[in-house]
């Protein structure tokens, strides 16, 4: 069982540099290179509301992927981004 179960669903990708990109997983391969449709980056900062940056169709190289999480569309719909504030994620330290 791998990313196959998440294909065609909305996922949240955490990248090695600490970015959060949300999109519909269209494809992947053994190196975890990903194809994300309608991707949006969520920018968090400690003192301003979350900023959403639309990006379109993205290919993310597997080297850069930290985590791929399946998002619950119900919870997503109800989530109010303007109230969310948090420190940005750290980049991965090797």
């Amino acid at each position: 069982t791998l990313l196959e179960t998440m294909i065609k669903q909305q996922v949240s990708v955490i990248t090695a540099d600490g970015r959060v990109i949300i999109g519909i997983l269209r494809g992947f391969d053994n190196a975890i290179n990903l194809i994300l449709e309608d991707s949006v980056e969520r920018v968090f900062s400690a003192n301003s509301p979350v900023e959403a940056v639309p990006l379109g169709l993205y290919v993310i190289r597997g080297d850069n992927v930290s985590l791929v999480g399946e998002l619950d569309p119900e919870v997503e719909r109800r989530m109010d981004l303007s109230r969310l504030q948090a420190d940005p994620l750290r980049p991965v330290v090797t």
């Binding site: 949240s12 985590l67 619950d72 994620l89 090797t94």
Partner: protein, 120 residues
């Protein structure tokens, strides 16, 4: 070796700490040869600090970003694991030794036959 070890932990609750300091608690759903981990029913151990995952129930974690996998002490026989790891280390050391000996022997034989032609 550790791939087999993790396969025995499928279904158990673990906490995965990533190299970006994120800690995620969940049930080990599956693991693969790269030690990529699929976690079910996840909860972030400090949700206030990391709200990014509020709507996430399952996730796939790349093996290369895992710093630690925390498990309850009773899920793992450390002595058995130590012995198995030691055995595997010895095995790979002897395999490497025979491989380099074969390579050295092959190189020496080729040089010897080349020298014979020069005598004529």
């Amino acid at each position: 070796l550790f791939y087999s070890f993790f396969k025995t932990l499928v279904g158990k609750d673990v906490v995965v700490e990533l190299k970006n300091d994120l800690s995620i608690c969940g049930t080990l759903q599956s693991v693969d040869q790269y030690l990529n981990i699929n976690l079910n029913d996840i909860s972030v151990t400090d949700p206030n600090k990391y709200p990014h995952m509020m709507s996430m129930k399952n996730c796939f974690i790349r093996g290369s970003v895992v710093r630690y996998v925390q498990l309850p002490a009773d899920e793992c026989d450390t002595v058995e694991l130590q012995n198995a790891a030691r055995k595997e280390a010895m095995q790979s050391k002897s395999v490497a030794a025979t491989a380099s000996a074969a390579a050295a022997g092959g190189g020496g034989g080729g040089g010897g036959t080349g020298g014979h032609g020069g005598a004529h």
